[in-house]
Symmetry: C3
Subunit: 248 residues, 3 copies
């Protein structure tokens, strides 16, 4: 176990491997055959399922500590981070407490997931991605590198979010008290594809099996099975059925 | 103090807590009740005020070391990084020497601040943000996640920079000698709001209490209290007074 | 050598300096006068040339480990990462095995390079940049902060890729089997400049000494020595010869 610092109240399953300079805090539970890289910090009450791999220099299960000027109220008493069996976590990743990640996911290098998120099974969260708080991501969905997923977003199953997609949740950008009524991330329905570097305005719905072309700015809801394009994005044609997620 | 490596010429105030594998170099001064996470590296002459919190795996006060091919001349003899009382620094953050950060700020996870920057009080620098060298950011300003703030930018107080905003400073993109005359980041005046994934061309001024809609490309100055939209961004209407920063 | 963990089968040249908590694995070879920061992890068979500097908390030469649902087949038996003499690597960087980086490069903080990339000499890879797998970058090229370089991209010499440029390689966004036939990153020819926050569609070629204005969406090939602008980007005028890379 090299020179890891393991709290006496942590539990490690059989066959776990810990790298150098690892810190494991109270109440952490690692399943069987978990592999933890070097310089990894695992905060209290984090649970990693069987066969989870964690890359070097990652921080798992840290607690939120917003600025006094943030509109996010401090989340106390959150449960520990929970990561399902067979999931791979990259290097330099930061994951918060109070979130659940499913089985067989890839949470790639230098990515980031805030508190109170629920991520399904076999999801890819790409390199450098932000997933802000209270977001839900369905199974088999891919969030490509450097995408920005804002708070209170809902993404269903089999969705493809291309690199550097930008989502938003507040048309008032932090002004007026009424903004709290309207504040809402996008909803991206099953099988939809959202192109690289597109911008989704607050609260828009991207329909099932819809397709947003790269570089678009989406200001209104996109109907199911429809390809939209431009700034503002407008419907252009139907998505071919052979491209539906259901037909792969 | 766990197994931290603390240089004999560093000074730690009363009540400081250091994590595992922390490295603190010569001339570092920590105020009272400073909390430093695991695997944190604090470079020479860094000063952290009372009550500063630093997340795991962050690097504070490192010196610039540009490539030989960079146009940035090497900054020797910079003073140490200075961080004000009550500021929270996240995990995986990299901050350079020669910059000053005010009191009660949040410098979020995986963000980055270069040398010779001045950041006011109660500022939020979001997750994964870049703040390049010689940039000034006023108090109560929020730079949201993944925004890119180029060198020689001026941002005043109470500004809202939305996620993934992109700023620029060189219309010549590294060519001709005359570019050094014109090279200039944007100026964002007090109370302005800049929408997600907008692009600001070099040297533009965003007026006081102005509003740039998400996804715009700003090629000219934006008048005070004006909403602009599109690519290139054009004035659309006045910003309602109830949304002014001054009226919150 | 502080408290570094150095595998007995690693080789260190004369004058190397290792920080605290460094881990160096089997088969690693460091040239002379290599400086390695604190908390750095160097994976098996990595080769660093003379005078290479590595910032704190970086991970060099890690192996790819894609999700079971990824379309990237696992790259086994990759050679170790190779970094040329005089190259500077920042803090919080993640570099994969199976890639080669030339001499005198700057691989800036928090950046990322995947496997099977070839990067020339005197290249700058900016802060937070992604370089995905099987990409080639020519000498004297600058990839500015937060740019996203997709897999199977070709970038020639003396190219300027501005901050937050987004590249793509798959018009089908992960659907249909035929996509594998068409999947292709952009080709950016010698001396071209690509403006901040532009989006390059899959397979486009940016001609020699061409100029893409900031915020554009490039859907077709851009002719040599031509300035294009807008969404979709259209030719506007010729690039002045005094701005050619060849004339600097």
């Amino acid at each position: 176990m090299a020179n890891a610092t393991v709290h006496p109240e942590a539990q490690l399953g059989s066959g776990c491997q810990l790298g150098q300079n690892v810190v494991i805090m109270a109440g952490v539970r690692l399943g069987e055959q978990v592999v933890v890289g070097h310089n990894v910090v695992i905060h209290p009450d984090t649970i990693l399922g069987d066969g989870v791999h964690v890359g070097d220099n990652s921080v798992l299960g840290r607690s939120p500590r917003p600025a006094s000027t943030s509109t996010v109220t401090e989340a106390n008493e959150l449960p520990g981070l929970k990561v399902g069996a067979g999931t791979t976590i990259g290097s330099g990743v930061v994951l918060y407490s109070g979130s659940r990640i499913g089985d067989d996911c890839l949470i790639a290098d230098q990515s980031f997931v805030r508190e109170k998120c629920v991520i399904g099974d076999a999801v890819i969260v790409g390199r450098g991605v932000t997933v802000e708080n209270e977001t839900t991501i369905g199974s088999y969905t891919k969030i490509q590198s450097q995408a920005y997923i804002t708070a209170w977003t809902t993404i269903e199953d089999h969705v493809f979010v291309a690199p550097c997609v930008v989502t938003t949740n507040d048309n008032f950008m932090g002004r007026t008290a009424e903004r709290f009524k309207y504040r809402k991330g996008p909803t991206i329905r099953q099988g939809a594809r959202v192109g690289a570097n597109t911008t989704l305005l607050p609260g828009v719905t991207i329909g099932r099996e819809a397709f947003v072309a790269a570089g678009s700015v989406v200001t209104r809801d996109v109907p199911d099975e429809t390809l939209v394009l431009g700034s503002p994005a407008r419907p252009v044609r139907a998505v071919p059925e052979r491209e539906f997620a259901a037909n792969q």
